[in-house]
Symmetry: C2
Subunit: 123 residues, 2 copies
DNA sequence: CCTTATCTACTACATTTGTAGAAATTAAAA
DNA sequence: TTTTAATTTCTACAAATGTAGTAGATAAGG
């Protein structure tokens, strides 16, 4: 399943607070970005058409939506293309990039170290 | 600078073998994907318009191109959006995902471990 | 020098994406 | 029950994207 950037922004919100209505999604998106309610609703409709979202009931006249794909499924799909296009397919340099650029606390670091250790063991 | 997927595919090739002509790019892309020469040339033209690529001479009647943005600049720009959209902005889970999903040899693992150690030290 | 194969430049078009208004509907309020 | 305010549906449209054809230019070969 291929979703656009805006569609993913909506999915992101939905994953965090589902089930919810288009109005609620609009509410939260508005905090970051000036956007009309109908624009958000259009995106939700497209997500429904693509089968990423489904109706989970009503609340007054408003439709309650819920996701029907999960984040990990989509990130699994997107990951190879991203790695190829921005890091020439070199997973090591991608991981290195993130380790160096991103904020990580001691606990995060310890966790990632343990993952690497496991990875090594598994060989 | 915002480039499309196909544009990035061409950039990727260019970074690996620049400077080169549109015909050479087409040659390599053809190995993976059925695509007309003029399609590739159109993408190169658009990249030139966007200022991602420039002319670096001629070879017969063919134009030789060279990139004028580098991979790290573009990946730095793309990274936050990708992390947000596919991992809810959680860099730790993104890195974890890649460590677990991707193929890494012992040397890669050692390298990444040293980066984490540095990261910890720097605190 | 003329022909030709190749390359560029220009144009075209369907689809997707971001964006939102207008019209129709309906739950809720009065 | 009638009005109203919020929602859904439908429609629209510009820009970006993937895709490629056509026409014109030109280097290279004969």
């Amino acid at each position: 399943m291929k979703l656009s950037e805006f569609e993913l922004d909506v999915m992101q919100l939905l994953w965090q607070r589902e089930p919810c209505t288009a109005a609620q999604l609009h509410e939260h998106l508005s905090q970051t970005k000036k956007v009309a309610y109908t624009t958000v609703k259009t995106i939700v409709d497209r997500l429904e058409q693509k089968g990423a979202v489904e109706r989970a009931g009503q609340q007054g006249k408003a439709i309650i939506y819920r996701s029907c794909v999960d984040q990990s499924t989509l990130s699994d799909q997107a990951t190879p293309g991203f790695m190829q296009r921005f890091f020439g397919g070199d997973s090591r340099s991608l991981i290195a990039h993130f380790i160096q650029q991103e904020e990580l606390n001691e606990e995060d670091i310890a966790y990632l170290q343990s993952l690497l250790k496991d990875k090594k063991q598994a060989k």
